[in-house]
């Protein structure tokens, strides 16, 4: 027991390993997220195929208003595109702070997207007893809203660390966030197509 | 290989052969459940028997191998002997093992598929008796099975009675949560799912009184949702019983809903 040298009292984690772990961890999280989304997709298609009692899509239930839905989707795509652009900007010039303005814009668009999504959910005129199309869609919208909310928190974390000069944003951090937004955007697009057109 | 070890291996192999053969002979003659009251119960019994006869020698072989390798060469926990021979693997043995187990698995799967195909198509036994299958609806509700006989005016009964000379077509459905209709002796098990028609065919072979139980957890009285008085009776007895039951049911007949494979009962899901 005494033959070995004492370990140092304070051990500094290797920053390279740390950043690899963060990238890998966030991608694994997307994998887990994907299986959750797939179970919603399964529920949607399975209940649609079952149409028990004719209650998949009973009379009087219409898809969400197309204008609002398109707005939410456009904001979602825009937020993703802006975050992606910020990530590219940082990637081109690591260390430069030009990306901050772009990222702030992305945050604002993201918040707008969340606000419109919540507005959409509360103004659908659906109640949960109006069949399963309504049920899966509402639940899925909520799930997406939660995902966007997490994306917003992520951007806030990056921005506040950068602006207060405590935790400068690294290329890897921003790329992970951009990948996350890409994922949420693709899912939103899929949900939009399903809920609007595969009713 | 030292002679003593060879003798030991021979003894183990001999023990395996004797045990495996004795077990399989016993399994071949044992009256295994669920018995042979119906054609599908018979084929289930046969499948269970064959699987058991395959599993037993494998079980004995692995246990013999374990006992041999563990017991014969064991040393005390604090012994400091080492075996000089270091084995890291043997690709031939591995390939053989994998090929062997894959073959067994394929065989079992093909055998199961064939049995399943036979069970779900026309029964093989009843061809001598030309008749149409008797439709019997099993209605599960919390916590009771009732039975409807659409070819007898749709009367309903609290006990299952079926004739032994006809093929029976069960249609299992539920009025509330998921139940499972288990007619053990007949080898019939079918989930009763609300607004879903789950159909099973079978040909009774033996008359008798049997037990029916619910085999899917359905609430407080799940354990009591059984009936020890399910009967397979002769054709004559069945007709007598059906007439009696129709008389008993006469006061309620006008209130029963028209026969249908699934029901959407009047008090809806959440009342009203």
């Amino acid at each position: 027991m005494t033959a070995l040298p004492q370990t140092p009292a304070i051990h500094e984690p290797d920053p390279v390993v740390r950043s690899r772990s963060l990238i890998l961890g966030s991608r694994l999280m997307l994998g887990a997220n994907l299986t959750a989304q797939l179970s919603f997709l399964f529920a949607y298609l399975y209940l649609r195929a079952n149409n028990n009692n004719g209650m998949w899509h009973p009379d009087g239930v219409s898809p969400p208003p197309i204008g609002l839905a398109v707005t939410v989707l456009v904001l979602q795509v825009a937020a993703f595109a802006i975050v992606w652009a910020a990530s590219s900007a940082l990637n081109r010039q690591p260390g430069a702070s030009g990306f901050v303005r772009i990222l702030e814009l992305g945050l604002i668009v993201g918040v707008a997207c969340l606000a419109f999504r919540l507005f959409q959910i509360t103004h659908l005129g659906w109640t949960p007893d109006k069949g399963t199309y309504v049920d899966v869609s509402i639940l899925w919208f909520f799930f997406l809203a939660a995902q966007v909310f997490i994306g917003i928190l992520w951007l806030i974390k990056l921005l506040s660390g950068q602006l207060r000069r405590t935790v400068p944003v690294t290329v890897a951090d921003l790329r992970s966030a951009a990948e996350y937004w890409a994922f949420v955007t693709v899912v939103s697009l899929g949900v939009f197509l399903l809920v609007q057109y595969v009713t | 290989m030292p002679p003593r070890r060879r003798t030991l291996i021979n003894i183990i192999a001999g023990t395996w052969a004797v045990l495996a053969a004795a077990g399989d002979i016993a399994l071949n003659s044992l009256p295994l459940p669920p018995g042979s009251a119906t054609d599908i119960a018979g084929s289930e019994t046969q499948v269970i028997r064959i699987l058991a006869m395959m599993a037993w020698p494998i079980f004995v072989a692995v246990v013999a191998g374990l006992v041999f390798t563990l017991y014969v060469d064991r040393v005390a926990p604090d012994a400091r002997e080492f075996d000089a021979q270091t084995l890291r693997g043997n690709s031939r043995v591995q390939t053989m093992w994998i090929a062997g187990s894959t073959t067994i698995v394929l065989g079992v799967a093909i055998f199961g598929t064939i049995t399943l195909a036979n069970d779900t198509t026309v029964p093989t036994v009843a061809q001598a008796v030309p008749n149409t299958p008797l439709e019997v609806q099993v209605i599960a509700q919390q916590w009771y099975f009732t039975y409807r006989y659409p070819s007898f005016g749709g009367f309903e009964s609290a006990h299952l009675v079926i004739p032994s000379d006809r093929e029976i077509e069960f249609h299992v459905t539920s009025l509330d949560v998921t139940h499972s209709f288990w007619f053990f002796a007949a080898g019939v098990k079918a989930d009763a799912v609300p607004e879903h028609d789950n159909s099973v065919d079978m040909q009774p072979l033996k008359t008798g009184t049997y037990r029916i139980e619910c085999s899917e957890l359905c609430g407080i009285w799940h354990g009591s949702m059984s009936d020890d008085n399910a009967q397979i009776v002769s054709a004559g007895d069945f007709n007598t019983w059906a007439q009696q039951q129709q008389q008993l049911d006469a006061p309620i007949m006008k209130f029963l809903p028209p026969y249908s494979h699934t029901y959407v009962p009047a008090p809806g899901a959440y009342g009203s």
Binding site: A43, P128 | G187, P194
Partner: protein, 640 residues
Amino acid sequence: MVDAVAVSKTPAAPRPLSRTLHQWGLLLGVIGAVLGFLLGYFLGGLGFVDNNSNGSNIQILLAYSLSAVGFLAGMGFFNRLIGSLLGQRPPTLADEAYLHGEGAGLSRYFRLTVDHKVIGMQYVVMILFFLFAGGLGAMLIRGELLSPQPSYVTPESYLTLVGLHSVIMIFMASAAIIGPLGNYFVPIMIGARNMAFPRLEALTFWLLPPAGLILLSSVFLGGFPTGWTGYAPLSDQAVLGMDAYLVAFGLIGLSIMLSGLNMITTVITMRAPGLRFTKLPIFVWGVFITSWLGLLAAPVLASVILMEVFDRTFHATLFVPAGGGTPYLWQNLFWFFGHPEVYIFIIPAFGLIMEMLPVFTRRPLWGYRVAVGGMLGVGVLSFFVWQHHLFVSGIAPALRPFYMFSTEAISVPTGIIFLVALGTLWRARTRFTVPMLFVGAFLFNFLIGGLTGVFLSDVPADFSLHASYFVQAHFHYTIMGGEVFALVGGLTYYLPKMTGRQLNARAGRRQFWVMFISFNSTFLCLLAVGMLGMTRRVISYQPELQGLNIAASISAFVLGASMLFWLGMIVWSLILRPALATQKNPWESLGIEWQLPTPVPTYNFDTVPVTWALPYEYDTGQPAAIPGRTQPALAGGTPT
């Protein structure tokens, strides 16, 4: 910005108040839980959802969820999260060291500590607590089944008892090996100083005690009638205890998922230089494969629980046919999670026994690569078999042959584990220590578990055996006879490393034989009653089966007593017996974990060794790597 300046002036300033709060984290957590409960109860009572006559679901759901959040907040889990949202400076190295429990005594076990070894020990205690709580349920169930009619338990209590026993055991089993031994030894075995995400690791542990307590508290709300499978629409109908089940299971699923994420990342990114995947100890492989199952399967559980909450609370009809739903939705999604879940139990046990086998046979693991392939095969196939739980449910009859085949195909990779075990044992001079006895018992029990599984995978046989005690005995053979036997053996093996004390070998040997024989006599009887037509989860059964049930119950009581005796042995060696200086490496293992001092230093390694081999080279007697110094290349040990 004022704050930032202040912080940047004193970068390494200690923060006494936050540390005091942190020190009392458990107490604050309890206070947070109570406050969260009250807040949730209040918010739920504001009346934005109609109550039904069972009471207010939303109140209970919010109360439980917020109490879990409050508990974690009190423990200090959100400090860093909120800090980073506010752009605070990351914790200093001194803070990190404090969080690792550096220099702290026993108190580090009772607060948020991110040292993987502390978390491993916390897991040991929690697993044992829930193992015995679930075991108490089993004893009560067996006591009730002494008579074929309800005797001392009412039917409603019986269902709750069955439900609690099953969920507690599922919950215990899903973390039984990967929690204590995986967290403790995986970082050491891969030459890392900690997990990739230490805070996340602490979170995966601290999610579980609230989950367990919420689950147990369901008895105050009338219990839940559905067993662990929670089949809808029965669960839509159940009283408020069902909400406890949903919240608890949700937390468990979250923990499984996060633990999987953390383990995968750790194994991929934190391996010491030179440690290739082909040189990973087999236990690490087991944990690694399991983690993938947890990561990909548990989110499905989370989403299906979300759907059930929606159904119960807002009267949606996802599982109610009258409103367009279908019970099959629950069954499909639940079992899509549920079947990988049972391999989450058993694959770490495979890894664990294969890790112990070379130690006691004094030779390399026979066929390391096929062993890894076997576990991988089990893991991959486990995602394609879930419909074998639905053979009698009346959906998709055409798919039955496929699922029959895929289920039976799992026995090929499982058989490989037996091949590897037999190959390693072949002509080895096996040392009959207590852990080795448990390895042998694992192989025997799991053999029965596996062979009975073939009966259930065969559709015609399954028509007779499905949902009977045969199924119950089958999965107890795999989980209790497999995983729990591996856990008992594994803890006996590793406790000297974890605590510095060794269990009494003589008492252990006797305990083993009692446990092994009573286990088998219990579940062989139950296999028989299942074949004779006794349904699972019933309080009354056929009177003619009473004899076998009495035999099973008495054996079960003996089994329970032997488990209690084992617990007594642990307590005896840890607390009551005077501290004995045991050997550093009582099993003479070559594994790197045994080359470290006991207790293991906070950051495990001084310098991480760079040259690795599989730690099974007993012919040379050389450890794979010796921590603390850089090794010259070993024979056969150079990275390939």
